[in-house]
């Protein structure tokens, strides 16, 4: 894993900044995107995240990390947040916040799980659920920056209605023949669904043709079992472990 870009993404003290909610958008029944104005934002790379801090009236504070969905080129920061029903922070962000409200965040954080347009070689993205968010920042960056290498997204969702960024993904793939989009719907499928209907596994990744790709940059983000399975399968299929970057979120109920 070691030799990689973004060494320059570091070290400057990360201060807490005030983010103002500009707008909020439904992505799926449980997922919403917050568009934020963050004055003096230092910029970020696609794949990085931020820490969000909320302060209660009695001074109690809670922090959580959220991936940035917007590409480096965007002026506003977008966080796409899944509502964890017994969570402490996410129900507040997706349910209570109103445009004009202010909260704190700091970042960008994480200089390893990042992709930039300067990297040569096909981009392979494997996502489960809201694990799509940092990968979407990569696809958006790629579309804006005009990258010529192919991009492949394998995206596992429970159902068609749970696919985050669905319309935008369809549009990206329709407009750019070098973008390939493969959905798998694990719990429910629309009538006439021809695609995959099971969890991502080795057979699927082999069928899709990932082992034949030369020098891919692989990013996997999602729940731990998906990440473990996909990363393991790709290593077994002959992909160099050093080319596979992972970001995992457990079912830790945290957010």
């Amino acid at each position: 894993m070691i030799d990689d870009p973004a060494q320059d993404a570091a070290p400057r003290r990360l201060i807490w900044r005030r983010a103002e909610l500009l707008g909020i958008k439904d992505e799926t029944p449980r997922v919403r995107t917050l568009t934020l104005a963050v004055p003096d934002w230092p910029g970020h790379l696609s794949g990085q995240h931020v820490d969000v801090r909320l302060t209660a009236e009695d001074g109690y504070q809670a922090q959580r990390s959220y991936s940035i969905g917007s590409p480096p080129e965007a002026r506003e920061i977008e966080l796409t947040v899944e509502t964890i029903s017994d969570g402490e922070v996410s129900p507040y962000l997706t349910g209570e916040l109103r445009p004009g409200d202010i909260f704190e965040l700091r970042g960008p954080i994480g200089g390893y799980f990042v992709w930039s347009n300067s990297l040569v070689g096909p981009l392979v993205l494997i996502a489960g659920g809201s694990g799509i968010v940092p990968l979407m920042a990569m696809l958006r960056h790629r579309a804006i920056a005009g990258h010529s290498c192919g991009a492949l997204l394998v995206y596992s969702s429970r159902s068609w209605d749970d696919v985050i960024y669905r319309a935008e993904l369809e549009r990206l793939a329709a407009e750019d023949p070098s973008v390939r989009l493969i959905h798998t719907l694990t719990r429910a499928q629309p009538a006439g669904w021809q695609g995959y209907r099971r969890r991502i596994d080795k057979t699927m990744l082999a069928e899709i043709g990932i082992p034949e790709l030369a020098a891919p940059h692989v990013f996997i983000c999602g729940p731990t079992p998906l990440v473990e399975t996909a990363a393991q399968a790709l290593v077994e299929l002959g992909i160099d472990a050093g080319r596979i970057k992972t970001e995992r979120f457990g079912p830790s109920g945290g957010s």
Binding site: M1, P11, A62, Q63, D101, F113, I244, G250, S252
Partner: protein, 206 residues
């Protein structure tokens, strides 16, 4: 920044003051054990495993799995704190303490300075020697009475629970004494050089 903005309607969902005393700032309690790694889980069989202590370029000691298991074992019950904000209370570990390793190679006094931990997959992290002495650091091979799962660092991981958990490097294979502090993997990517959860040293300069 001056006064943080109050999030109207936002309330703590922590249940007890016990939690408050045991949770470092900015952390929340979890009961499961999230997995966080930068890449695929390496598959290492104990037959191919070894652990080495190194001072500069010279080897102080090296153990294969059987030799390592026959060293005096230490058990530790401790809270752990991940920089991604989860903390977990009362985790139980078994392995070989850093003190025992020093004894086993015949060192009556630890080299001064720092250590760099080297792991399968290329991961590194730096820890001061003083933070491993006196029972504070160990190479753990068992978690809750069972051999440590690969996704949690098995066959062996470092355990330095008073620092953020990225310092407790998974799949550790080599501990190298160094005179001057150097940044490891995450430390050179914006994470704090020392990583004390109680001082909330998450990122460079915190």
């Amino acid at each position: 920044m001056d006064e943080p903005p109050i999030s109207r309607g936002f309330r703590s969902r922590r249940s007890s003051s016990d939690q408050r005393d045991r949770l470092p700032p900015g952390q929340y309690l979890t009961t499961d054990f999230p997995v966080l790694s930068a890449g695929p889980t390496p598959s290492i069989t104990v037959a191919n495993w070894s652990f080495a202590l190194q001072l500069g370029g010279s080897l102080l000691g090296k153990w294969n799995w059987t030799e390592f298991q026959s060293l005096p074992q230490t058990e530790l019950r401790t809270d752990i704190h991940c920089v991604t904000k989860w903390s977990k209370f009362d985790t139980n570990w078994r392995g070989v303490s850093f003190d025992t390793l020093l004894e086993a190679v015949g060192l009556t006094e630890a080299p001064s300075g720092f250590t760099m931990l080297h792991c399968d997959g290329g991961y590194t992290t730096n820890v001061p020697v003083a933070d491993l002495l006196g029972g504070k650091g160990m190479v753990a091979t068992h978690y809750e009475g069972l051999p440590l799962a690969p996704s949690h660092g098995g066959p062996a991981r470092m355990l330095v629970p008073h620092l953020y958990f990225w310092k407790s490097a998974k799949w550790v294979r080599r501990l190298r004494f160094i005179e001057k502090d150097e940044a490891g993997f995450w430390e050179s990517l914006g994470y704090h050089i020392y990583g004390d959860p109680w001082r909330e040293q998450r990122y460079t300069g915190d």
